[in-house]
Symmetry: C2
Subunit: 709 residues, 2 copies
């Protein structure tokens, strides 16, 4: 068997390269029947540079190619495309494995997307793939396609134009629609893969594949779900440092998630998790199909800007204002020109022109005036990128203007987008611009949003990857606390787990849980001032309601208070398990801001971290930030930055600014805790009191899964 | 002279109808010089159904038309288009007035947009227009155009296709761009007007004009500012009950507003005012050019839905999910089908199809299956509108599918939009759909957003216009309070103006401002319990800082407290004007929620009302709602509804729900106060304490302009 032509030497199930550059392709289930998928694929392979090998025991030849009864009897192939009925598809894949074919695309449908029997069949398929170490795409896939070798192993109606976008899609139909449309738009692709049910290879594998592919400039994805969120984040973070990735995640909304679930059986996971995961992975998120391709074209064709400052040059005031509004809506800023630029513009423009940004060369501008203005602003060190806007006039020929813009972009190496407005008259100009990688849109907002995508990517590339900090913690003590709880049969823990936070260095008030009155006194003695005492019982959730909390207890009353709390608890619920009483230092909550620091487990992304101000900010205003754990110091810091209520931690309205470093450290320590212990399903520190001197966890609740210990 | 052909009989400066339907058009400044505006306009009038009358003392004829030395010598005309140089433009307009021509379009530039001398010239122009009662468009206008009579009195390069959209634009260049593009897209217009500098006729006049025009289905606007916001709101509110209006307001962002200001000298006014004004006027606001025309086409071509419930029918799962996401992002909801519909679908669809919304007829669907499904969902009473989505397949012919969709929309009278995805293959289908008024987009999100625009319009049309309530108030007392302050030379008032609120029925705590210790005692005696006392002085802004506030004063200490407060104030600032001391009942602010109710004056819209929760909600979270005064009861209620923090007034987190009726009434009473007294520039009731029993204004500050009294 031939080795994969692309990718690393060691074959793993995630080495997807061979799929796109085979020397010989077998079509298992090839046929000549009109309208069949088996025929469509053989037809689509007509332009393939390598060998096409139909496999079908019932035929001698298919569409002029010699046909073989099985893969064992066929010449060496390095990609098998399986289109046989579902009942024999798993066997066909096993045959491929036996014959040493490592790259397999299963087109056949009737697997997990149909539930029941199909799901079982998919498990068998995955097992066979694992046994033989197969790079398997599908099942229920439209196929794969790669333009450099003319490989079109899909049953779609269109082939792709050559280009440098590589595209993966969880919807095969969407690929057929996109190719048909893209051909019309002159948009080309390097590789295209229909992921199907993702029994083996998934989005993360193709991310990894395209990172190493010099012919892929931009990765595009249409995804309805992600198989392993954490792995995706780790992989994509690395990819997006060099290769932009633009993804539409479908099923964003509740209605959409339901629809996606009935479409591919995808469990969507939470939208907050996807948002956090894509952000951490540096993926440029597109809200819809238009953005997906607008962003991809800009990222493919334009140089990266060296700042976010935009110059607008226009011959029409109104559209210039629209472009400026669009800049105001984006991450970009309007550039302030250097004095030289202003002087140059003042010298060369008529009196009625506006030389400040947006530069209005006014309606009677000819090509020269436009060129002078664009050249001047692109030469300005304060300008990172530019938008050229023109309304049709009798003086300006769009094709000539397009040529000038393309030359100037090339000369200055700064990205330019255009908005040469009009109908048919823009077509030739758009071609000229397109060849220079410059998108032209009627709507100034769309042109600016392309530049905005570059700004996002620029910020991603500027990030330094920072590994999560490893704090010196008492992991063994934490394990003991969790194991003790599990041994007691407790899956929900309260203040008795404060020590868990302590073991991971998250500050807690002085105090202890004790189980007799004498110990309570000892603990209280060690604490300066009066104490707070709370009954500790997994069976009593609302302690205050039953008088299970005493505030401001002086030392001499501690023993009596202990007895009283236990009596009240027993009166309330005679069979309650009582673990003891917590004796804790009094904390003045008015001295700081109550925040909430929590975690829960997402089916796709694993532990998520949540931070926000407590009370109404979380519950009513939903002002929280989320990240996938583990987080780096920068990511933990961003969790504060992105809160609307952040100013309240930063001294707004005469408050004491909170110690942000202490918050950021606690976020990271919790991140380490939940990463170390998958048994922690949910954990809320509420409140985490943030003062100018640090933080203190005043209460905690968690849920554990003993089976994960 | 001929009367205007369209519009009411009584000519007022706002009767714009004659502009679009003249019998004879004079071009004052007509010429044959190549590249001149005077020639371009005569050329553009070639297809005009009426008479074209060039006016130019230097010529006998222009492009084959007889030319006249002046309007007096010319045959009767009912529209004069002025293109002479700015120095003689005002005289030309006067000549038109003298000759009895009431409709004038001033193309000539060099007026207020150039500042200084030009601004003075524009004032003269407006004065002449007023003298002769002219309907004057411009100056600095591209012209006007109306397709039914073939009138193209613009100097733009393109004419318009006939249609039912009427379009006003503050940018002439944008009109040239739009016409060029629209011709290519097959989008037609009824009337088009380039507003220019709006010396006389403005957006409100054309709103009014098109309300009465049976051939205008949708009003479109590109505006950089509005001349008289309140008048626009009142007029547009009436128009939009029958005729949808879609507007792009440019200069939305700070950068954009600056650009607009240097472009047309427009003072943008506040974005919050525009947002409120458009909302109250029922104007559908488009964020950008794409939305402007997407919304206009949908509103022009589609029937109105009778609910906001959408059915999606697709042959492709992924794009169906995208459409569903777009519904989730919009005001629309996914429809739940009736049982009959589900039964009909189950009977007719293959097993693998999804009969729940989104209906997936799956990839092998033929025309019949699509038709059955679309018919079934449109017949469902729970369905108000539908999106038909298709990826290209070998089985479906888009043109046939388009025909079926058009027929079914017609049959059921419910709006349908389509997303027949692909490239060239969609073109003929798009034509078929276009003829039925159905837009087709590649992006499901764009298709759904068109339906969303219908939902907005539906809500606007469903509103009952409600006049602002007139409360029985003590207007004379209010006037007296304001006049007294003005007489004292005060322009900033504090608690001494609490009576102003009282005069308009906004509840205030019991109490009075007194100017001697004995009176203070009398007032305190009448008040149950201890009192709060505050020094009242226009010169002392921060009373608390100088010990100018005493809380919890018992009756017997009131006289001493009075003396003490005055002494402290005099010590602090010997020359301070001291109006006295306020003696007020103690109010427990913990018993309610502190809100803020305020007003200020916008240069375009007049008094704006603002409501929100006090403190951090206004200052940090900027969670406020704004309306243009006067407001109706519904509008006042919406001001609470749209706050993110509204749940805090509604019993969230165990609070007592506030008396919302009392808040709504106070908003309306303040609305009446600021409408009655233009002298009130700013007024803040902060806090307005909202409890379960009502509201109380605890403090007030205002600024007045004595000249407006």
């Amino acid at each position: 068997m031939l080795a994969a032509a692309v990718g690393s030497d060691v074959k793993t199930p995630s080495d997807a390269g061979g799929l796109f550059a085979p020397n010989a392709v077998a079509v298992v289930g090839a046929t000549e029947r009109e309208g069949s998928i088996g025929r469509a694929i053989v037809e689509n392979l007509a332009d393939f540079d390598g060998t096409v090998v139909p496999v079908n025991p019932k035929r001698e030849s298919v569409l002029g190619y010699d046909c073989y009864p099985d893969l064992g009897a066929a010449p060496d192939v390095d990609l098998a495309v399986v289109v046989v009925p579902p009942s024999i598809a798993v066997d066909a894949v096993r045959d491929a494995g036996e014959a040493g074919v490592t790259n397999v695309v299963v087109i056949t449908a009737g697997f997990s997307e149909t539930g029941g029997e199909g799901a079982e069949r998919e498990r068998e398929l995955a097992a066979v793939a694992e046994e033989y170490g197969l790079n398997l795409v599908g099942p229920n896939s439209l196929g794969v396609l790669s333009t450099p070798t003319g490989l079109n192993a899909t049953f779609g109606p269109s082939n792709a134009l050559p280009g440098n976008l590589s595209f993966m899609s969880q919807s095969g139909a969407f690929i057929t629609a996109v190719l048909d449309w893209a051909n019309d738009q002159g948009i080309g692709f390097k590789d295209v893969v229909s992921l199907g049910n993702k029994a083996v290879l998934d989005e993360t594998d193709f991310m990894r594949q395209w990172r190493d592919d010099p012919d892929t400039n931009v990765v595009l994805g249409y995804l309805e779900g992600i198989e392993d969120g954490r792995e995706f984040v780790d992989t994509a973070r690395d990819v997006t440092q060099d290769t932009p990735a633009v993804v539409v995640k479908s099923g964003r909304t509740e209605a959409g998630a339901q629809a996606a679930s009935s479409h591919t059986g995808t469990i969507a996971g939470s939208e907050a998790a996807y948002e956090a995961g894509f952000e951490q992975a540096g993926v440029v998120r597109a809200e819809n199909v238009q953005e997906l391709f607008d962003f991809a074209r800009a990222l493919d064709g334009l140089p990266m800007p060296d700042s976010e400052n935009v110059a607008v040059v226009t011959n029409a005031g109104g559209p210039g204002v629209m472009a400026t509004d669009a800049v105001g809506d984006s991450r970009l800023s309007m550039a302030s020109f250097e004095e030289e630029t202003l002087d140059a513009l003042l010298d060369s423009m008529p009196e009625e022109a506006n030389v400040y940004n947006p530069v209005d060369v006014i309606g009677d501008a000819d090509l020269d005036r436009f060129e002078t203005a664009i050249d001047a602003v692109l030469a300005d060190d304060n300008v990172g990128c530019a938008v050229v806007v023109s309304a049709p006039t009798a003086i300006i020929d769009y094709e000539e203007l397009a040529g000038v813009v393309a030359d100037l972009q090339n000369e200055h190496g700064k990205p330019v987008v255009t908005c040469l407005m009009g109908g048919e008259r823009t077509e030739k100009a758009a071609d000229v611009l397109g060849e220079a990688g410059i998108p032209n849109y009627f709507d100034p907002a769309r042109a600016v949003s392309s530049l905005d995508a570059l700004a996002v990517q620029r910020a991603v590339e500027a990030r330094e990857y920072e590994a999560p900090r490893e704090f010196d913690v008492d992991r063994e003590r934490a394990r003991e606390i969790l194991t003790d709880a599990a041994d007691r049969g407790s899956t929900r823990l309260g203040v008795e787990a404060m020590d868990l936070l302590d073991a991971y260095g998250i500050p807690t008030p002085e105090g202890e849980v004790v189980d007799d009155p004498a110990d309570a006194r000892w603990v209280a003695n060690d604490i300066e001032g009066d104490v707070v005492m709370k009954i500790v019982s997994p069976d009593i959730l609302h302690k205050s309601d039953i008088g299970g909390v005493k505030v401001g207890v002086p030392d001499e009353e501690v023993a009596d208070a202990y007895e009283d709390l236990v009596t009240r608890a027993k009166n309330y619920q005679p069979d309650a398990t009582i673990l003891g009483v917590q004796v804790q230092e009094m904390v003045d909550t008015d001295a700081g801001t109550e925040t909430i620091l929590g975690t829960n487990r997402d089916p796709q992304f694993g532990p998520l971290l949540l931070f926000g101000l407590g009370g109404i900010f979380v519950e009513i205003l939903e002002d929280t930030s989320v990240r996938v754990a583990p987080v780096s110091e920068r990511e933990a810091g961003e969790m504060i930055d992105e809160l609307d209520s952040a100013p309240l931690l930063r001294g707004a309205r005469g408050r004491d600014p909170a110690d942000e470093d202490a918050i950021v450290e606690s976020v990271q320590r919790l991140s380490q805790l939940v990463t170390d212990f998958p048994a922690i399903l949910e954990l809320d520190v509420n409140p985490l009191l943030a003062t100018g001197d640090g933080v203190q966890a005043l209460d905690v609740r968690l849920t554990i899964d003993p089976d994960e210990l």
